[in-house]
């Protein structure tokens, strides 16, 4: 990458469970011109309250250490007691400097248990990045499909939701969220199947698409390549790669 455009990766997981050092990941991001990473953290499936706090502590530590490169989201498990969940939002966002919430597969997006989280995020004007996948096989109990994310978006129109994994959500997923302008999508997920970025731009508009890599399980270069290789205009590409995230995260 030789030009100076801003590239923000909305979907990364640090520290890497695989043992790749954070320094190596940040160095690789720099090599490819990625200027900022949104760290969603790293946690085990069905994390306990202690594990949630520990993951968020680590995210806050990394953000404090690399303020020019990292923005952090707090991970929450909606199965936990409401007071704890809302307390964690207060601890990590209001007092800890994190800028959004990450939800995974512990509770389906259709479940009303998510609503207090969504309302808190709307009040704080921060986005929620929610896992989603249109899976034929290998679905995890509680895992949300794009239709579930659309349901959530319709229920809570004041909350900005970023649906993860564009390629894995597919054309059907794009159509599911299309009616809900508060629902965005990130470009990560599955393999770099062609045509999906162009289709998302056509249906959602480029303003609702955010570049995401899902590293370290994925490769920055491959994930950037699906945006850079798509048949879209330069302005659309720049919106997807950074301008939209800058606006959403109020950077």
């Amino acid at each position: 990458m030789t030009d100076e455009r801003m590239i923000i990766d909305i979907h990364t997981h640090l520290p890497a469970k695989s043992g790749v050092s954070t320094a190596t990941i940040l160095s690789e991001a720099r090599r490819l011109g990625i200027t900022r990473l949104v760290n969603l953290g790293a946690w085990p499936l069905n994390a306990t309250p202690e594990q949630v706090q520990s993951a968020n502590d680590e995210t806050m530590r990394l953000v404090r250490r690399h303020p020019d490169t990292l923005t952090g989201f707090a991970f929450l498990n909606p199965n936990h007691e409401k007071g704890f969940v809302l307390g964690e939002i207060s601890r990590c966002v209001e007092n800890g400097g994190l800028r959004g919430i990450k939800l995974e597969v512990e509770r389906n997006a259709r479940d009303p248990r998510l609503d207090p989280i969504m309302d808190a995020c709307a009040s704080l004007d921060i986005p929620v990045l929610h896992h989603s996948w249109n899976k034929t096989v290998g679905k995890v109990l509680g895992e949300s499909s794009p239709a579930g994310i659309a349901h959530l978006g319709a229920r809570r129109p004041r909350t900005i939701i970023v649906m993860a994994h564009l390629t894995a959500c597919g054309m059907r997923g794009i159509l599911d969220i299309e009616p809900y302008p508060n629902v965005y999508v990130d470009t990560s997920g599955s393999q770099p199947f062609s045509g999906i970025v162009e289709y998302a731009v056509k249906r959602l508009g480029p303003e609702r698409i955010l570049f995401g890599s899902d590293i370290p399980g994925r490769d920055f270069s491959c994930q950037l390549g699906r945006v850079l290789g798509a048949g879209i205009g330069a302005r659309d590409r720049d919106l997807i790669l950074g301008i939209n995230a800058e606006r959403l995260l109020q950077l």
Partner: protein, 259 residues
Amino acid sequence: MIVDINTSLGRWPFQRFSIRTAPALARHLRATGIGPALVTSLDTILFPDPAVGNAELFRAGKRQPTLVPVPTVNPTLSNWRAIVADGVDLKAVRIVPNYHEYRLDTPFVRQLVEVLAAEVTPLIIQMRVEDERNQYPLMKVPGVPVADIVELANAFPQVPTICLCAYFGEAVELIRKTENVCVDLSFIETFQTLPTLLEQVPATRVLFGSHTPFFYTRPAVMKLEGIRPLAEEYETIGQANAVRLFGNRGGRNARLNEQ
């Protein structure tokens, strides 16, 4: 110039390609920094007789010197011998076991590979074309099992066997358990893909493959760029392995031969 060993032409019911013709494919690859490319017909996968798709592919590729058509056979059909025998300038033969519903340990496959062994013709095994998690719910087609490929490859060590669309773990296992299997890098992905892969397997067993037009082409090119500082490995994966396996087998594809 990069050699791409994994491209195709044709139709696929679950994806609409922007690249639909041989000239468009050749132009697109050239614009992405790719020179010669092996190309197979998508219409050989679901249409009952692969000879039809092969014939269309060879006609379409005639005026594109950078495209190297590779026929697909279904060894459970009676016409596979004719397809192999008619394959003028045959660089390789592709099989698609999972979509054509046979296992690699069937006698049909053994007979095919014995014929390929006589001329040391490379065998290309298409392990998958889609991410199984995202397949159309009424058409779930699992990938070709690694163990089956290992058994076949070890039974015919003289036949170069190239597996397309293996995942990272599958690729490592295939290479470690055989002497004659190579993989393309289209489906292989992890953090710093090629540097990480090359910690586990030699560069001589990995080929550049983009899986165009299923995939955007740029991701594979950018994965390869990740080892640009390693000039020898870059050259080996980007070009030399393909020339060693498919070049200099005679025929009209002089550019591949002369690389």
